[in-house]
Symmetry: C2
Subunit: 340 residues, 2 copies
């Protein structure tokens, strides 16, 4: 079995490689690929250094499965040909997510979408995964009818460059936190990744603005849960916000169901749900945070409350490692489902 990781030098690509090794994926051959810029660098896999090669249709020949995380443009350029050549492509980009012919899969939630040996499979957006992991089992139990999401997304969602931009801005501003309210706005640093200052700030803009005023990220958070949960008409409203956190996404979820559901029943359902860990014991101060989810393979779910005026509605908070659980792990679990 020949396995390629496309975008091997990126934040998610490195995590894919690490998880393939951790979980003992039965790869006989490992092929790290990336753009010309990264070619020649090496990545470590099972104790050996592997040189990254430049991505091309030829380089992919004979590959059984490719885990792809190099952005939508690269996915659009290479995946159709690779799939036609017989490579199963598991794509972390948005390129094919809404293509009706391509399954959009969170393996813990809708593995049945992998039936029929698809050659292209899309991995959802990281924030979608963080929300859908608890929503899937709750929907199966009580029938989801309305959904609101407000996110707290880490800078690593924008890759290494996102983390570096925040780190640099913190170096520049740290020590002057007490003066911010009196400082001139023009004296705050900004960079090409986030536009405005992300250090010590939150930015209600993830992705680009689209007609109607929603961002690309928000459009994904509204469309993708509908497809994954098989609810094409589900009303969803989403607000995506970047926060100065290196790794770990969080999301406030308000979910209305077709019948009454208590926090206790939700905890019971989620305690048996794959990919979810309930961290919800307010009496003992137990609730989840992104830092606790970082490095882990589960969405941590807590703060489950009844919406006061609606016995059919719950509000809760879900946190997951956006590079692992929200991207790389999902891709590897799909590969395992199809090939092991």
């Amino acid at each position: 079995m020949k396995v390629a990781v496309i975008g091997a030098s990126g934040a998610v690509g490195r995590e894919m490689t690490r998880i393939l090794e951790e979980r003992g994926f039965p790869a006989d051959e490992f092929l790290p690929l990336a753009s010309a810029r990264s070619a020649g660098r090496t990545v470590r896999f099972r104790g050996a250094e592997h040189a990254i090669r430049e991505l091309s249709v030829e380089a992919l020949q004979g590959t059984d499965v490719a885990l792809v995380s190099a952005g939508a443009t690269v996915s659009r350029a290479f995946i159709p040909q690779a799939a036609a050549n017989g490579t199963t492509c598991i794509d972390n980009s948005s390129a094919f997510r809404m293509d009706p012919a391509v399954p959009l899969v969170v393996p813990e939630v809708n593995p049945e979408a992998l039936d029929g040996d698809p050659k292209i499979i899309s991995v959802p957006n990281c924030t979608t995964i963080t929300a859908v992991l608890p929503l899937g089992p709750l929907h199966r139990a009580a029938g989801l009818v309305d959904l609101s999401l407000s996110s707290y997304q880490s800078v690593s969602g924008a890759g290494h460059r996102g983390v570096a931009e925040m780190v640099e801005q913190i170096s520049e501003l740290h020590g002057r936190e007490d003066e911010f309210a009196r400082m001139d706005l023009s004296s705050f640093p900004s960079g090409p990744v986030f536009g405005k200052t992300i250090a010590f700030n939150v930015l209600a803009k993830v992705g680009e603005f689209e007609p109607g005023g929603y961002t690309g990220e928000e459009a994904k958070m509204m469309a993708e849960p509908r497809k994954i949960l098989g609810l094409p008409d589900l009303p969803v409203v989403a607000t995506s916000v970047r926060v100065p956190v290196p790794v770990g996404h969080a999301v406030t979820i308000i979910a209305r169901f077709s019948r009454a559901i208590t926090p206790g029943e939700a905890r019971e359902i989620l305690s048996r749900a794959p990919g979810v860990e309930v961290r919800d014991d307010p009496g003992n101060g137990i609730y989840p945070s992104p830092l606790e989810a970082a490095g882990g393979d589960t969405a941590l779910v807590g703060r489950i409350r009844q919406v006061e005026h609606d016995p059919n509605a719950l509000v809760f908070f879900s946190c997951a490692d956006n590079l692992r659980q929200g991207a790389a792990l999902d891709a590897v679990l799909i590969a395992e489902h199809l090939f092991t």
Copy 2:
């Protein structure tokens, strides 16, 4: 006119003093008071240093108006007697906010609640003010029927100690941002103000947990808008989250009205609303952030969109300086309304 600031050494008290001076409040005498711990320190007002005196009922004798920001326990202990002695007490704590006899006032939104020369007036919670400044005029125009709030609250909401705790944790962790996902959780610092690590993290716990699983802060964000807007039965759901930002609160607001309302109409209404500044031009990349609100006297409102499936509902984002617009300015505007 004799004006006292109670809690004069605190984050909000210092801001109150600054705003009284900035706005030329007609104080003939200025009396900074605080706990015994702060007594003897000085605060600057109109070019002179004023020694902080220890708070007591006697020290307040003869004071016309007291701006109070020293926590609910201090307010409960001193305000009833001071009010009985003829001092108008404008209280920033939660002590009297839900008392039916005490008006809860955002002067830009419900100044009529100040009619009748009340001796105790409560200033709402900072996050409530950030939300209610735009909600008030929209409610008057279209009739609010349902409200969801998810907040992004700065550490200065917990006072100087909150800022100091975050700053110290950043000093300890900065430079290792790339390693967080592999670090042991026990190696992250935590402190008495926030319990868990607040640097590089977000914490879905502001205040203490109450029965039902909501925090004290969330309970305020649900009860206070109902009182201010005169909608005692308004369905509200709130999630309060602390973010590693020194100053400036933000909140995602989903508001459903009794009739259809477009983002364009909302922008038009808000462009004439006192205390609000519309920053909403996605085509030109214009949207608000907490850092831009810091030091200012307005709530910056943007990201106004239609909720896709509901022409009666809008979603938007409001940011305000939680020490100024969310607390101290509100108190000074109330004093101006009553005394000038």
